[in-house]
Structure formats: structure tokens, C-alpha cells
């Protein structure tokens, strides 16, 4: 078994992965909005 400590702040890694996906989604939405503002 690999010696692995838990991730920082949260109990599991899934929370971090959802944060990455969430931030990416927010960015894409923001970019969509910016693009549509001038299209």
C-alpha cells in the first residue's frame, strides 16, 4: 500500500476534483458571457 496522507482541508479527494471542475465550469461560463457580450 502506498503511504498516503488525506488531502488538505477536505476528507476525500473527490471534493478537490469537484472544485477543479467547478472552477473550470465557472470560467467557461464567464468566457461565454464575455464572447456573447460582443457577438
Amino acid at each position: 500500500m502506498i503511504d498516503e496522507h488525506k488531502p488538505p482541508l477536505f476528507k476525500g479527494w473527490n471534493t478537490w476534483y469537484w472544485i477543479v471542475l467547478g472552477v473550470m465550469l465557472v470560467q467557461v461560463i464567464l468566457f461565454f458571457w464575455l464572447t456573447n457580450l460582443f457577438s
Binding site: 502506498i2 503511504d3 498516503e4 496522507h5 488525506k6 488531502p7 488538505p8 479527494w13 478537490w16 476534483y17 472544485i19 477543479v20 471542475l21 472552477v23 473550470m24 470560467q27 467557461v28 468566457f31 461565454f32 464575455l34 464572447t35 457580450l37 460582443f38 457577438s39
Partner: protein, 570 residues
């Protein structure tokens, strides 16, 4: 440039080299040299990953990309966060469990020696070429500014990198990258502020953004799907994910960054750090290009941004033609400037009709400007046969040299050289590791002492640096450096990723099947590149290579199984 700029530039670079060499002197064994004692924390890994990916090409070429084509290049990075997650979940634990030095060691455990050697070989070709491009970009810049021969400038940068990379190995690379990244981020933020501060006082930030938007530079998201279109949301989300999975998951120059982590947790957090920050970082760099674009709406840009080349033409018989073209360009620019002033007024009055009219006029004049520029490029080709007439990679640099104050010029040049050095150091370190571990130690000299392999690693580091320098001097760059780097990557990453995906997920398939599949996949990608270059955008090579390897491996395995069943029954 003046004395202050030179002092800042060389002072910064020499400090980094000396600091890196001093702090990491005395690597005693190959483990420390190639893996770096496993002491790196998550933020150091994250910085190292970002510094490895962001070479001078990023800073030279990306702002110019935005100036000409708008910000839609940002879509290229959309697949990166997805790739970070997949790698954190699947690949990193496997590498940690097997305690490998290189990603390709794993392939022998899973398949056989020939597959390991093939993957390592493809990586060495790919990374060797890329190291040459990484070195070429700042070399050509410096050679252009100084008027020195490119051989001299290439050797200068190459030697700087060799000193601390050969001496300190992975630890030297990681340590120097922290300083380099700080310089890079500070420098780029400063460049952004300076570009904005040089805009006319009467143009606010909001109006700047609106101008850029109305003139099509904030076209971040494009949804039209076409296999021949390089940058749209589909290629960004799907094809780029494949590219980044391969680059971060199987390319030793990145794998080495996070395998040097203190623990699996630290490595995963480093990848997550990269997944969160990469897109905003690229947004800032592209936005700086947009600011420079708006700057040039109010200040006449040069008709050709590579001033050194333009000055050379002025000394030939084509000087007269060039002068006429510059005069025409100036005249068209002045008309365009009036149109921009009307557009700005229309924006302030919120007058849609006026905005539409001004935009139409702008595009008509822009077309005239573009044809003059095309004529200029033809003139340059005629005056200096073989000269590179693509000047997109000089746009940002020319702006820095022409308009920014002394001192800041030196700092921004230090940014570009730091970026080049940080990427090249990772690449050399990875090339040396793979050559030592996957080729030399595995197939040629398996029983030597640790000290012998340490010396071999140092030798291979120098060897690859010399190969990269030779390639840099010979390279004739394609249309745009940042795209060329990714085209070269896309030629090989799909196949390598396919090998690893079969390794991870299709446990029944064995070495020979995947080896045949890899050869077929690579040939298919090369066919697309040489025969269907215009029809298929390069990002899709990653999917084509990867999918073909998986499919052909499965088919070859199926035939193999069929033969074994026949053998068993007969």
C-alpha cells in the same frame, strides 16, 4: 536597450544560475540526481509543472496570437483541468506504487522491453525536437536585438542551462524554477499594467475592453465544429484533453516534476494547483496581447514587426518599394484611426448604428492594411530569399522594446529567458533520465555502479543540450512558435497516450499487440500531417493516434487469442 536593461537581464540570469548551482551541489547518487530526494511540497510541484510548460514561446508568441486572432486560443487549455483530475486518479498512484524513475519503466512491467523502448524512443524524438524549439525562440530574439549570429546566442543560453542542470539535476531544476516563475508572473503583470498605462488618457478600461470586443478580439468561445479548425470549444474540451493527458501523464519532463513530491498527496495537490491556475494564467497573457492591440489602435504599429529584417531590406534595391508601402500603410492607418475614434464615440453614446458603421469602415481599412502587409512580406522575400516573413512572434517583443521604459525592458527580457531556461532545464533532465534509465542502463550496461550512472546522466544531459542547440540553429520555424510546439507534440503524444491507456485499462492485451498498434498509430498520424495538413487540425492527431493504438491493439490481441485457441485445439 541600454546599460540598465543589460544589467537587469544578465544580473537576473546569472543570479539564478549561480544560486541553483550552489544550492544543489554535491548530488551523490542517481536517485537524488534524477528524483530529487522526494522533498517537494505541493506548491513547489505546482510551480514546477507550470514553469516547465510555460517556455519563452508562451511569452513571445501568445500575445501576438491574441493581437492577430483574438483570444480564442484560450480554448486550447480547456482540457487541462480534466486531464489533471484523470492523472491524479489513475496514473500518479501507479507510478508511486512501482517507485519508478521514468514513466516508461512502468511499460516493461506491464508489457515487455520492446514496448518500453519504443515509447521511450518516441519521447526522446519528441522532447529532443521540442528542446530545440524551446531554445530557438529566445535565441532568435536575442540574436535579433543584438545583431549577433544565432549560433552565439544559442550557445550562450544553452551553456547557462547546462551549468546548473548538469551540476544539480532535478533539484537544481526545481529550485531555479521557483525563482524563474516569480520573475515570470511579476513581469507579466507589470507588462499588463504598462500596456494599459500607455493607452490614451481619455480611454478608460471599460472602453478598452469594449473596443477590443467590438473589433473581435474577445472571441474567446467559438462553437462551430470543424475538423480543420484549430481552436474551438470542441477541440479544446475533447482533443486537448488527450494532448494534456499524454503531456502531463506520460511525458517524462512533467512526470519527473511530480514524482519528486514528498508524498502522493503532495503530487496530486501540485497537479490540482496547475488545474486551477493554468487557464487564468493564459487568460492574462492573451489579454496582454489584447491590450497591446488596443494600444496600436491609437499608435501606429510598424508595417512589419521584425525590425531587424525590415532594416536589412532598407539596405537592398527594394528599399524604394518598402518606403512606398510604408507610406501607403501610414495613410491607411490614419484613416483607420479616425474610424476607431468614431467607434469610440459610438460606444460612449451607446449608438448602435454608429458602432456598426464604424466597424464596417474599420474592417474595410483593415483589409487594405492586410494587403499592404502581404506586399511587404513579398518584398522581404524577394529582397532576402529564405527570410521568415511571419512576424507574429515579434509583435509583443517589438512593443516591449519600442515603448516600455528602460529597466522594465530588461526585466521582461529576463522573463522570457527565465521561461526558456526553466522549460529547457526540465526537458534536458527528462531526456537524460530516460536515456540513462530506459535505454542505457536497461539495454546496454545493466550492472554498473550508482556513481557510473550518475556520471552517465550528466553526460547525457550535456549530449541532449548539444543536440537541442544543433536543432535550434537549423530549425526553420513554421507560422507561429506556440502552435508549432504543439504541432510537434501532437505528432507523438496520441500514440504514447494510447500505449499507456492500453497498459492501464486493457489488462488482457500484451506487448506485441500494443507494439504493432503503436507503429500503426504513429504512421497514421504522420500520414495525416504530411497529406491532410489542411483538412485535419493538429489537435485531432492526439485523438487519432490514441484511438487507433487502442483499437489496433485490441484487434491484434483478438487475432493473437484466435491463434492460441487454434494451437491449443490442434
Amino acid at each position: 536597450m541600454n546599460l540598465l536593461d543589460w544589467i537587469i537581464l544578465f544580473g537576473t540570469l546569472l543570479s539564478i544560475v549561480l544560486y541553483g548551482t550552489w544550492k544543489t551541489r554535491g548530488a551523490k547518487n542517481i536517485e537524488s540526481y534524477l528524483k530529487g530526494d522526494n522533498t517537494m511540497k505541493w506548491w513547489m510541484i505546482g510551480v514546477s509543472i507550470m514553469a516547465t510548460q510555460a517556455s519563452a514561446v508562451t511569452f513571445l508568441s501568445t500575445p501576438g496570437q491574441a493581437m492577430e486572432d483574438g483570444m480564442r486560443f484560450l480554448q486550447f487549455y480547456f482540457g487541462l483541468p480534466l486531464a489533471m483530475i484523470i492523472i491524479s486518479v489513475t496514473m500518479v498512484p501507479i507510478y508511486y506504487r512501482l517507485k519508478v524513475y521514468t514513466a516508461y519503466e512502468y511499460l516493461e512491467t506491464r508489457f515487455d522491453l520492446k514496448t518500453r523502448t519504443l515509447a521511450a524512443g518516441l519521447f526522446l524524438i519528441l522532447r529532443g525536437l521540442s528542446a530545440g524549439i524551446t531554445l530557438f525562440a529566445p535565441s532568435i530574439v536575442l540574436s535579433s536585438i543584438l545583431g549577433w549570429n544565432i549560433i552565439v546566442t544559442t550557445m550562450m543560453i544553452g551553456v547557462f542551462v547546462i551549468i546548473y542542470t548538469v551540476s544539480g539535476g532535478t533539484r537544481a531544476v526545481s529550485l531555479t524554477q521557483r525563482t524563474q516563475m516569480a520573475i515570470i508572473m511579476g513581469g507579466m503583470v507589470l507588462a499588463g499594467f504598462m500596456a494599459y498605462s500607455l493607452l490614451p488618457v481619455h480611454v478608460s478600461f471599460g472602453e478598452t475592453v469594449q473596443l477590443a470586443g467590438e473589433l473581435g478580439k474577445l472571441n474567446i468561445i467559438t462553437t462551430n465544429f470543424s475538423m480543420s479548425d484549430r481552436f474551438n470549444i470542441w477541440s479544446g474540451l475533447i482533443a486537448s484533453t488527450f494532448l494534456f493527458l499524454s503531456y502531463f501523464g506520460t511525458d517524462q519532463s512533467q512526470v519527473a516534476r511530480y514524482l519528486g513530491g514528498k508524498s502522493l498527496t503532495e503530487s496530486r495537490m501540485g497537479l490540482i494547483f496547475n488545474g486551477l491556475l493554468k487557464i487564468p494564467m493564459q487568460f492574462i497573457i492573451l489579454f496582454i496581447g489584447v491590450l497591446v492591440f488596443v494600444f496600436y489602435l491609437f499608435n501606429q504599429p510598424p508595417v512589419f514587426h521584425n525590425q531587424t529584417l525590415k532594416n536589412k531590406v532598407a539596405k537592398t534595391e527594394y528599399a524604394g518599394t518598402m518606403n512606398e508601402l510604408e507610406t501607403s500603410y501610414q495613410s491607411v492607418y490614419q484613416q483607420k484611426q479616425e474610424t476607431v475614434t468614431s467607434l469610440l464615440e459610438g460606444i460612449r453614446q451607446d449608438d448602435e448604428a454608429s458602432i456598426a458603421t464604424s466597424k464596417n469602415e474599420y474592417y474595410v481599412l483593415k483589409k487594405q492594411e492586410d494587403s499592404i502587409r502581404t506586399e511587404v512580406k513579398k518584398t522581404i522575400s524577394a529582397a532576402l530569399p529564405g527570410a521568415k516573413t511571419q512576424d507574429r512572434d515579434y509583435m509583443f517583443l517589438n512593443f516591449v522594446l519600442s515603448y516600455l521604459p528602460h529597466g522594465i525592458i530588461g526585466l521582461l527580457l529576463a522573463v522570457m529567458f527565465s521561461a526558456a531556461m526553466s522549460s529547457m532545464a526540465s526537458e534536458l533532465n527528462a531526456l537524460a533520465s530516460t536515456t540513462t534509465v530506459d535505454i542505457y542502463k536497461r539495454s546496454f550496461k545493466p550492472e554498473a555502479s550508482p556513481l557510473h550512472y550518475l556520471r552517465a546522466s550528466r553526460f547525457f544531459t550535456i549530449m541532449w543540450a548539444l543536440i537541442a542547440m544543433a536543432f535550434a540553429m537549423l530549425a526553420n520555424m513554421a507560422e507561429n512558435l506556440i502552435q508549432f510546439v504543439n504541432i510537434v507534440g501532437s505528432l507523438f503524444y496520441g500514440t504514447i497516450l494510447g500505449i499507456f491507456l492500453v497498459a492501464f485499462y486493457l489488462k488482457a492485451i500484451r506487448g506485441t499487440s500494443v507494439f504493432i498498434a503503436a507503429v500503426v498509430g504513429e504512421l497514421a498520424v504522420l500520414t495525416c500531417y504530411f497529406f491532410y495538413y489542411d483538412e485535419i487540425a493538429f489537435l485531432y492527431y492526439n485523438i487519432i493516434g490514441c484511438v487507433l493504438v487502442v483499437l489496433v491493439a485490441w484487434i491484434a490481441h483478438w487475432f493473437d487469442q484466435g491463434k492460441e485457441i487454434k494451437k491449443a485445439t490442434s
